[in-house]
Symmetry: C2
Subunit: 298 residues, 2 copies
């Protein structure tokens, strides 16, 4: 299962009662954070989540509202006693931006490992998840992220016997460990449907979102603007409207859509709930702390 | 008069319900901000104060909890439409630190003017106030600040007549403008007691605080620790205890003391109110948004 918490839902600037957009994703006790604007450490505390288990931070891009909480977060994670390295992923420029921040924070008790991703994106493992970074359209290097948790096949005793696997090895093989010349596949049935979510803020609604997010359990997309008359502004500023987000969720056959990254000029995004749900019924106009546990199908 | 608002009272890291320590001081519609940690822009909004009238930002030092809110604040002030320059004051390193931040914020619609103050401190005018930066003791370059508003003498018609000032010039001279070969002093009595406040966080209780803060209307001092057993820790980390702050206020004959910059390990600083008040009665265990208008004596 995957615990997903959208700890903030704001775009551009933090507001009283609305933290900047950031996602905290936890699987088997390890966590990934996507973006970290000013105040994100307070958002993590407010959502009663832990700092020390954050193994990786994925950055969509380097606008201040997505990264300027990093210096404080780094220090707070250090104060919590972490010594294992943290992996940072983001577009070209990552090292330069983070190094600039490091000038005000001095020595940390853990290492930061920088992964500058190529423009065409990349696939990597982070905190038990398989992550794909795909380049978005925001007028500057920017990624959206697809996070997936695979699910091995069911344990199949008949298959184990058929393959001559000694009973004493069944337990280890079932947990996914190769042992005694046998592979887990020798005791497991075919892989089952896993879980996936797609996170895209600060981008126009590009087709790649449909492609990578097909049948996803959860879409988390920006809904910077809700008003029909803001469509031109969305195009001009390389953002997405709520309507465009809902159409993406519909066309990708997503199970659920959470909107986020609201303009500071939109204090009440819930006003747009009805028209947006008429496009994609299973839409949530997220609030800070929106959370859900994605679980494997029975 | 001077409007003083302590918009945050935290030290080290922002907490839900406690912004990082920062002071907003307004005189005649212009404002000075002292320090700007992560979340200060939200603290300004929460206190219902304005961004656009901030003419100067004084930085005590460059630990992250005192400066990392600057990138977001700069952007927000730009969004509010400011075009006049903002003056930044702080220790050596100011230009380097702010320039690092500028890598994530791009072009602003106003200029930032850097004033790196010499180690021995400096005196300058900012937003109608006379400011003195004095070097503190924090194990790194750090200043405390004394802010003063002078008060001219009372208008004295007898003196104006005696000095042969034409009646038509009285108004201008009374406002403090030299005109027609006359100086304001030609129509005013002796200067009267002005207003002053002293702001010192992140320092040991150095004697210079007594010297510069003598008879101040308001002391705003850090009270990082309240427990007697934390005295050694305060010395080790170059901070001040609440007891030390209260003794400074007493010995400087300050009118009032506000404590701030509480350790994150002190969720209830008000627990120390009684013992601290037994040292200096007029102590306020400040909370975020603590505010007061300092007015001239009648």
């Amino acid at each position: 299962m995957i615990d997903v918490t959208l700890i903030g839902t704001g775009g551009m600037m933090p507001l009283p009662g609305r933290f900047l957009t950031s996602l905290y994703v936890r699987t088997n006790g390890r966590a990934v954070l996507i973006d970290c604007g000013e105040g994100t450490q307070t958002a993590i505390r407010t959502a009663s989540l832990r700092f020390k288990c954050i193994d990786a931070i994925l950055l969509t891009h380097f606008h201040a509202d997505h990264v300027s909480g990093l210096p404080g977060l780094f220090l707070t994670i250090g104060n919590e006693g972490r010594t294992e390295p943290i992996h940072l992923y983001g577009p070209t420029g990552l090292t330069r931006v983070i190094s600039a921040f490091l000038t005000i924070i001095g020595e940390l008790p853990y290492d930061l490992i920088f992964h500058e991703l190529p423009h065409e994106g990349a696939r990597f493992e982070a905190a038990n998840l398989s992550v794909t970074a795909v380049s978005a359209e925001h007028g500057m290097p920017c990624f959206f992220y697809h996070l997936a948790l695979s699910r091995p096949g069911k344990f199949d005793p008949a298959r184990a016997r058929q393959n001559g696997v000694p009973l004493s090895l069944w337990g280890q093989l079932q947990k996914g460990e190769a042992v005694g010349g046998f592979a887990p596949s020798d005791v497991l049935g075919p892989a089952r449907r896993g879980l996936s979510l797609l996170y895209a803020t600060d981008t126009r609604p590009v087709d790649k979102i449909l492609q990578y997010g097909k049948d996803a359990d959860l879409f988390i997309l920006e809904g910077m603007f809700g008003e029909a008359e803001k469509q031109a502004r969305a195009i001009e500023t390389n953002h997405m409207t709520m309507q465009e987000a809902a159409k993406l969720a519909l066309n990708a056959n997503a199970k659920e859509l959470w909107l986020t990254h609201y303009s500071p000029a939109t204090p009440h995004p819930e006003e747009f709930e009805e028209p947006i749900k008429s496009i994609f019924e299973n839409t949530v106009i997220s609030i800070d702390g929106q959370s859900k546990t994605l679980t494997f199908e029975e």
